[in-house]
Symmetry: C2
DNA sequence: CTCTCTGCAAAGCATTTGCACATTG
DNA sequence: CAATGTGCAAATGCTTTGCAGAGAG
């Protein structure tokens, strides 16, 4: 029952552990940077009939508990991922692919920023937007 | 005609300089972290009849040229600001207020991340989400 | 058994788009 | 003038919500 590991956070919370929530957690354990629709697809594979509304409600709860992290960047649908390690994001402005990257030193800077302005209970994330290797290769567009 | 300074970027671009675009740039020069609606309000003050669609189209162009920066964080409407200095953001998870902060060292880290993964033409931004001083003071909620 | 969760379908926003006319260069 | 830009209004896409029945503890 490795599910227990995944579900632990929910069990410890004030929320009920339902099959739907468990399935969402499992989906997020298998894939990363999933949109709500993509999660719905995966969840429905083993449990048809689940609604998108439930996915969104669940994701919201999981984010509140701190099990899930949202990445949203104007326009497209938000992406969700399980909170495992602390990492940052590279977003390709062309193909919209997302890459996780770890980076040293960001935490200290973030904590300094927060301290200077009196922020508490912080989370932080460095996002780099640019053109990924593949898109740079496959296109002959000039940089602006 | 200080407008020239503001309009320069557009004049140098392949886009036409219209009264609407000029007004959007001026609005962004006066306020920061404005939503499209807020910009519309300001622009309409001097030029009634401008449409929201035009604001969005203009903002998109300005972002493409690099004159404007978007900040979007799930749920609420995106915020726009003129690109003046390089800064980062503190977002209060409670009152949703946005604060600009400059920080040393972020650029080198971002460039390292990009280099490691082969990203080019990058822009980067460190976002810290937390509880601002005021919200921490006025509420007696426990940290999660 | 009570309280919470879910599916369904409709509503809500923010943003985008097609089109005919107006404007810029 | 030819090419672009604009207003209008409708369309789109993502996310949220009200409600009545189902499920968890």
């Amino acid at each position: 029952m490795e599910a227990k590991t995944v579900d632990a956070g929910l069990l410890q919370s004030r929320y009920r552990l339902t099959r739907q929530r468990s399935a969402v957690l499992r989906a997020l354990g298998e894939g990363t940077h999933l949109s709500a629709e993509m999660i719905l697809e995966r969840v429905r594979a083993e449990m048809p009939g689940v609604s998108l509304g439930t996915i969104y409600r669940t994701l919201d709860i999981l984010r509140g508990i701190g099990l899930v992290q949202i990445f949203s960047y104007g326009g497209s649908a938000a992406r969700y991922e399980a909170v495992l390690d602390k990492h940052h994001h590279l977003l390709c402005s062309e193909c919209r692919s997302l890459t996780n990257v770890t980076a040293e030193g960001v935490e200290r800077i973030a904590r300094d920023m927060a301290a200077r302005e009196g922020f508490s209970d912080i989370d932080f994330s460095l996002t780099v937007v640019g053109r990924c290797r593949d898109c740079a290769k496959h296109s002959h567009l000039q940089s602006v």
